[in-house]
Symmetry: D2
Subunit: 80 residues, 4 copies
Amino acid sequence: MGMRLELNTMIVTKNREVRQEENQFLLEKEGYRLYPLDIPIELKKTMTGEASGQAVVKKVIWEGNKTFLTYQLVSLNSTN
Amino acid sequence: MGMRLELNTMIVTKNREVRQEENQFLLEKEGYRLYPLDIPIELKKTMTGEASGQAVVKKVIWEGNKTFLTYQLVSLNSTN
Amino acid sequence: MGMRLELNTMIVTKNREVRQEENQFLLEKEGYRLYPLDIPIELKKTMTGEASGQAVVKKVIWEGNKTFLTYQLVSLNSTN
Amino acid sequence: MGMRLELNTMIVTKNREVRQEENQFLLEKEGYRLYPLDIPIELKKTMTGEASGQAVVKKVIWEGNKTFLTYQLVSLNSTN
């Protein structure tokens, strides 16, 4: 008996992020997911797509088999 | 460069827990600490002491290099 | 896309451990499982049974979606 | 009391990798480090440098407060 979790090395938003402030977003994910905090990681819209930028996770909440992620966008890839 | 964390298999309160409800408590810890959620684990007052009971972690918040733990006491060891 | 793992706070042998030395055992588990190393944790024969003793994980190998655990038995509960 | 570990989202070689096969390498790191297995992650020579390619971790060994990492190089960034 243990706790299932998923180790994630990037943020995949699937366009479900909610803007909280200028460059801060909240994202809800199913299950308990482990993301590195306070470190720039890649931000993607879809799992298989290109990185749309870099973000830093500032806060993680685990509760009721869900993960609530607060991240700040630190850079945007130009896509012209 | 990575994220430092500490894997914990029990809750050590050092009498710093704050009662929120009948059997629910909040505990603040330094650093990012990984506790299993939704699984009974041992509850201790001090690291080297006997278990005072069993608790289930219901919520974990990681932010600003701190861990905020919400747990429910599920059983108390008798110590008479 | 992430890596699934299971956080374990005790060792459940299901009698599948293989003795390597006097008090050292090897145990193979399905999936990637995270156990604390170098810390005494409970050892059980079955998930729901009583702890049969305490063990210290000395080595963990993750490969091919399996976990290979080397642990030392540090104390046995008397069960008379 | 817990187990300290470091969550890593990329491999930083510092030129200490040892080639084992055509595109397979072994790397020894201090401390217990958690890397995602079986998923392409960035490979760098130095922490602050550019990614030199992508690699997939195939095996991780934790023992004696060291991490032994076996990874396969899956793509190389051209740097001309």
